[in-house]
Symmetry: C2
Subunit: 325 residues, 2 copies
């Protein structure tokens, strides 16, 4: 079984890379930017380059699907870069190609707020994809940079699916009718995503789970089974949103960046501003293989489990990262 | 008579500064940024600092209304900085104070396209002021940085007028019912702007004029008289949008920045992509005093002419540029 995680933002360390190895995790899409502009994103990449140099027996930069397969064969983890906002391209469409050249493989069009390209899920209004957004989608399609709408609003997401000539991803979210978090996705979005050949990464972040950190593995896997009924068994994977070892200052920064002088609590609240405690059955990358057993218990056959644990992401990587002339 | 021009973006030179002096122009709001980010905006400011050092007998930096009065007394021109987009503050609300410290006195919340703060007049949809936009308006009010909605869309403009605790400006535009250019403003916007104590700078840019460059001085001044009926004689000034000596590459850059790989023609068209030729009665700053005669001929009394030619802007400067605790 090949395991791929569709999104993590940990406080990276040797310990976490060893967790990945112990968990048999062959590829992880890691967030390099939330609010970082181009130059700051490059700093995040140079930090990764130092990690690749320091831990070559554990991790290396993934650029294509073949790197995930190679990582499995070698017992390492291929790291695929992504951004949770379009901040790294600033207002320059030319930076899309540059970011792809530097290894970026996913980019969200908006993060909670309105961006230059699309609307985020916390805005009161959602006018859909902007003029620049249409240009950016075309260029991302050409370059092989995957459109990720995890933190975007409904209409913007549906329009992105429609406008994009290549399948898009929602790397980390769950169905809204299972748990009505603002970040979870409507049946319409999930259906359109599935029909267009896109991918949903099911999130293990407590705010996205029914009963939060008390959600059981069985309940999570039953939700996975229902999601597969809506989207098809080829269209669902894991996007754990694991934020292991991050201090609470990081979640405050994720929510507030530099856009406000007051405090925004996002999915939390003033009373629960910090990172929520993780459920006991998912504390680290070592727990990812345990999901496979849960999926079997929820009724998936072996082929279905393989697809959800990594096969579908591998197939999506194969279809998504190469440039199209 | 004190003459103030509410917006120019010329290819600055000694010749133009001498035109200002010959025309008796005591203050000009000059654009320093369209798409420039913070660092690029600082480069535009250092270029102005060199001009201030080179031509101290002609120009100096204006920071408050008293500088416009001083310029008149000394036969010089006070230069007030402004940005036609929120690009200079990037995504950092803290840069609003920094930009004010550096002399910025006006900032548009959007330029043609959707920005992080508001919608531009060329977008298909206008969802109004964004989450970050509300924060930015509050901070601009505090710092004394005037909100300019010249290139913004209807709903965003009405919301900015309502949300702002201080009067806002539309530094360069005309009534839409006189000439239905996308950039000209509806009666609702003009009424709300007037009632809130804001200012409209009447534009002399041919694309904003009925009959374009063939518009007569009499027709322009008759429009001014009708606009005063809607807004009040205290709420109207001049914002010529003079782009003297600019090469056509500049208007292409204004329209396209780095947001598209195709060509957008904005107010022009593929057949008329270049800067439109100026009407014969307004070629340079030397022609500004001629407007006063046109206004008299259109029926304004001497006090009304004084207000429109500069008195209203001077009063607005007095009310707008100081910080509020």
């Amino acid at each position: 079984m090949l395991i791929i995680d569709g999104l993590q933002y940990c406080n990276w360390s040797e310990r976490i890379f060893r967790d990945m190895q112990a968990g048999g995790v062959s590829a992880v899409h890691v967030t390099v930017s939330y609010w970082e502009d181009f130059r700051e994103t490059v700093e995040r990449l140079t930090a990764w380059n130092r990690r690749f140099e320091t831990y070559p027996e554990l991790i290396f930069l993934g650029r294509g699907a073949a790197d995930a397969a190679r990582a499995r064969d070698e017992g390492r983890t291929a790291i695929f870069f992504g951004a949770q906002n379009c901040s790294p391209m600033e207002d320059d469409i030319g930076l899309i190609q540059v970011l792809h050249d530097l290894g970026l493989r996913f980019m969200q069009l908006s993060y909670n707020n309105q961006s230059l390209l699309a609307t985020g899920c916390y805005e009161a209004e959602d006018p859909g994809i902007t003029r620049m957004g249409r240009e950016a989608i075309r260029e991302m399609n050409r370059a092989g940079l995957v459109i990720d709408m995890s933190h975007s609003a409904e209409r913007s997401t549906l329009e992105a699916i429609e406008l994009s000539q290549r399948p898009i991803a929602i790397t980390h979210a769950n169905p809204h009718d299972w748990h009505p978090a603002r970040r979870n996705k409507s049946p319409e979005v999930l259906r359109a995503l599935g029909q267009s050949g896109g991918m949903l990464g099911l999130s293990l972040y407590p705010h996205h789970l029914k009963d939060g950190g008390d959600c059981s593995l069985a309940a999570f896997c039953a939700m996975a089974a229902r999601t597969v009924e809506v989207m098809g068994v080829e269209r669902v994977g894991i996007g754990s949103d694991l934020c292991q070892d991050q201090p609470d200052s990081v979640v405050e920064w994720m929510r507030n960046g530099t856009w406000t002088k007051t405090l925004d609590y996002g999915e939390g609240s003033a009373a629960q501003a910090e990172f929520p405690p993780q459920q006991d059955w998912f504390q680290s990358n070592r727990d990812l293989p345990g999901l496979a057993k849960g999926l079997r218990d929820a009724g998936f056959d072996a082929a279905g489990v393989d697809k959800i644990m990594g096969g579908n992401w591998l197939d999506f990587f194969e279809r998504s990262f190469a440039p199209k002339p």
